[in-house]
């Protein structure tokens, strides 16, 4: 009698948890991809932890009765590692609707991932889309900051160049009167055939500096 009951229970369980059964979800783990050398082996203990995490997630859903580990059924475990699971109600006759399970898993996805040291890509619940993390946008985009710096430097440089150009031109405009004097003296030196000394003495009268200045420059060490 007991054997019959046992067979009945396992038969019902087998019916409830099947690939593509109603309200069943496929789970796929890629432990080696995630952890490399530190990968653990998927055995019955890990399966137990999984069932516990699912039961925990179902318990966290408000207005749902307490779910026990025995209500979570796992089947068709492959080498991949992948398997199917369902969650039954306390009577163990029907499975809980897929929407509720989806909601529970999505709410606690982070905790489930952390329990296995995996992430959304290596612990996949097929048919349960994961919420992607939003990109971290700084309040002011970085490019505007750098653009502001470069543009300010360029504008300052242009202003400096324009101002120095205006200043140079103003100095040149004041300059022509002095240049004219020197040109007159040059014409004198070309036409006069005397030696240079008399001309320089002439120039000394007007411009105290010229010949003296050039001699000084030759003597100053630099």
């Amino acid at each position: 009698m007991l054997w019959l009951l046992f067979f009945l229970v396992t038969a019902i369980h087998a019916e409830l948890c099947q690939p593509d059964a109603k309200n069943a979800f496929k789970v796929r783990l890629s432990i080696k991809t995630a952890l490399g050398d530190k990968a653990y082996v998927w055995d019955a203990n890990e399966e137990y932890l999984f069932k516990a995490m699912i039961a925990f997630s179902m318990r966290k859903v408000p207005n749902r009765g307490t779910t026990d580990i025995s209500h979570v059924l796992v089947c068709n475990v492959t080498q991949r590692v992948s398997f199917w699971f369902v969650v039954t109600d306390p009577s163990k006759n029907h499975t809980l609707p897929a929407d509720e399970i989806q909601l529970a898993v999505r709410m606690n996805r982070n905790r489930i991932n952390n329990a296995f040291s995996l992430n959304d890509q290596t612990l996949e619940f097929l048919k349960i889309p994961s919420t992607l993390a939003p990109p971290t946008d700084p309040s002011v985009p970085i490019w505007i900051i750098i653009f502001g710096v470069i543009f300010c430097i360029v504008i300052v440089a242009i202003t400096l160049l324009v101002l120095s150009g205006i200043w140079q031109r103003r100095r040149k405009n004041k300059g022509p009167s002095e240049v004219d004097d020197v040109e007159d003296k040059c014409e004198n030196t070309i036409t006069i055939e005397n030696g240079i000394s008399s001309d320089s003495m002439d120039m000394k009268g007007w411009h105290i500096n010229d010949t003296f200045m050039t001699e000084d420059e030759r003597l100053t060490p630099l």
Binding site: Q79, L132, I146, R169, C186
Partner: protein
């Protein structure tokens, strides 16, 4: 000190007031910077690879020897001799040919419009490279945050960033859309930088050129070292240089080689004439021409090695990821243990599965992964820089650093070319004295930059990229070849070969040899005429169409081939003809002016004769 020496033997008009280069190096670097531009990075490697690899160097070097160097020498010599910009040079050669100078000026203006727009895109990418992770590495999330934006998933993250986040492109050239403020701001910044460097003519560009001409070589070397150490670089380089002599039978290859050497040296736009006009009269322009042309070609080769080692790395990377995707499909479908299939035994496992479980494998629709297919996906132009190369950089360790280096290299390369374009505009304006003397040079350059900025702001519309392609294809190419032909004919036949050779002998110290005379008199004009006719035939035959980026298109992300509407075709024709129309216009104006003058002088003669008799 202030007493002037005797007059110059051949006497020039404004010799004493004309600005000069500080030293020879500035001049050579300016010409090199003008010649070496974006085309050396993104046009030559593509042509080299698609036209038979190493074999392409044969038509390229022939074109360099018989067309590039002779024309280049001619431009430098005539500019150095006549010491004026393009308009002045042509009016001096013959008043009827003044239109060539005006055409070159218009051409420089049109080219600088779209060239600086490309630079503003480079600037935009440069500004966005200072973040980790790079913004073109990931798709934005969709509304309910469960997946990515459809347009991004359908194409790729880099294409999405280029077409949507940068250009925000419309699906059709008819829909202009609105001005994209970020592009307008970048355009303003790049024109401000150009103005900063060009503000005092060659005084300021001469200082800036030390950095903008030499820095790209430094970064290219860094990239070379990095590129050659990446996995897959060797495959890229063998793909580039494997010669395929059969392609030389296609006349299109020869046409492309000739046009490439031509556009690469930036001939016939008036920039080199302007640069040479600031030289001292006695300068060996023959040596300069040969050296600069060879430096330009060597840079093209150097850049293509860098580009293809990085492209080889990208292809190897894509191939590896293609294999990984197939491996994952197989592992999931057949529930093999995780990571049991590696890239090496993938082929063996696949054949085994194909033999045993054919149906299941067929249902998976595995992609076919061949390294050759990924290598074939090379691109040219903006596609290479902003899509292919940016994706390659994503997978390099330390990606932001390489992105910053790459885009600042592109920017300095383009900036040094912009100096030449701007001098091609500014020097004729200053020489012909249209502006009164009291207007300072800074104001003239500022006005030119402002007009160019306002005109090029039309490229910041959403359909701007389509218009830029139109400018690139129709405004520049045909006109440059035409002006180059007129240049050779004008200098050699109108100015006179003997007079020109005597001038060169005075400037360089010896008469030009047989090679120069033969190429100038016969070979180059014939070659240019052939290229001109071939180019016109090709242009007439190709339908005027463009590839539109349309997310609604069935075969998205492939561009949808659309033909230009009527009014756009009219604009294309106008752009191809407008610069060239200056030539007959000015010739006719001169002819009418001469006739009127002759009539007036004849009238005066008859009047004088009649004065001897009674009445007038």
């Amino acid at each position: 000190m202030a007493c002037a020496p005797g007059p110059d033997p051949l006497g020039d008009s404004s010799g004493d007031e004309r600005p000069k280069w500080d030293n020879k190096l500035q001049y050579v670097l300016s010409c090199v910077g003008f010649a070496v531009g974006l085309g050396n990075i993104w046009r030559f490697p593509y042509l080299c690879q698609s036209h038979g690899g190493g074999a392409f160097l044969i038509p390229y070097l022939i074109a360099l020897a018989f067309e590039g160097i002779p024309l280049f020498h001619l431009e430098l010599a005539i500019g150095q001799r006549l010491r004026q910009g393009s308009v002045g040079v042509w009016t001096t050669i013959s008043p009827y040919l003044g239109g060539v100078g005006l055409g070159c000026l218009t051409l420089s203006f049109l080219i600088s419009l779209y060239y600086n727009t490309v630079l503003s895109w480079v600037l935009w990418y440069f500004l966005n490279s200072f973040q980790q992770p790079l913004p073109w590495g990931s798709c934005p999330l969709d509304v309910n945050r469960t997946g990515f934006v459809k347009e991004c998933e359908g194409s790729s993250t880099v294409s999405y960033f280029w077409y949507r986040r940068t250009l925000n492109i419309t699906a059709d050239i008819n829909y202009s859309g609105s001005v994209q403020w970020w592009l307008l701001v970048c355009l303003a910044a790049s024109w401000a930088i150009v103005y900063l460097c060009v503000i005092r003519g060659i005084e300021s560009t001469g200082k800036a050129i030390y950095f903008t001409a030499l820095f790209p070589y430094l970064v290219l070397t860094i990239f070379l070292v990095r590129g050659l150490t990446l996995p897959g670089a060797a495959e890229g380089l063998t793909f580039l240089f494997t010669p395929n002599i059969q392609t030389l039978q296609n006349p299109r290859v020869w046409l492309d080689a000739a046009t490439q050497i031509f556009f690469s040296l930036s001939l016939a736009s008036g920039g080199h004439i302007a640069f040479a006009s600031y030289n001292p009269s006695r300068n060996n322009c023959e040596k300069d021409a040969v050296i600069i042309a060879l430096v330009n070609s060597t840079t093209s080769l150097y850049a293509s090695i860098v580009v293809f080692s990085v492209l080889g790395f990208k292809a190897a990377n894509d191939y590896g990821r293609c294999l990984d995707r197939n491996i994952l499909s197989l592992t999931n479908e057949f529930d093999f243990p995780d990571q049991s299939i590696s890239r090496d035994n993938y082929a063996a496992v696949l054949t085994h599965l194909n033999a045993t479980q054919t149906n299941m494998v067929a249902r998976l629709h595995l992609e076919s992964c061949h390294l050759q297919d990924f290598l074939d996906k090379s691109a040219s132009g903006t596609g290479l820089a902003f899509i292919v190369f940016t994706e390659a950089i994503l997978h390099m360790p330390g990606a932001p650093v390489w992105a910053v280096l790459f885009f600042i290299t592109l920017f300095t390369l383009g900036l040094s070319s912009m100096f030449g374009n701007m001098e091609g505009i500014i020097t004729p304006i200053l020489d012909t004295g249209v502006m009164p003397r009291w207007v300072p040079k800074e104001a003239i350059t500022g006005a030119v930059c402002l007009v160019c900025f306002l005109s090029s702001s039309c490229f910041t519309l959403q359909s701007g990229n389509y218009w830029l392609e139109i400018f690139d294809n129709y405004a520049a190419s045909l006109n440059l070849i035409m002006f180059a032909f007129m240049e050779v004919v004008g200098v050699i036949y109108v100015y006179g070969m003997e007079k020109f050779c005597d001038d060169i002998a005075w400037m360089t110290g010896r008469q030009p040899g047989f090679y120069w005379r033969a190429t100038w008199k016969v070979v180059s004009p014939l070659l240019l005429l052939t290229i001109l006719t071939a180019y016109m035939v090709v242009m007439v035959r190709t339908t005027m169409s463009y590839r539109a980026w349309d997310p609604q298109y069935k075969q998205f992300p492939l561009g949808q081939e659309k033909s230009y509407p009527g009014w756009v075709q009219a604009v294309c024709v106008l752009l191809s003809l407008l610069p060239a129309l200056w030539v007959p216009a000015v010739a006719l104006a001169q002819w009418f002016a001469r006739r009127r003058r002759k009539q007036k002088s004849m009238q005066q003669d008859t009047c004088l004769k009649l004065q001897d008799s009674i009445a007038c």
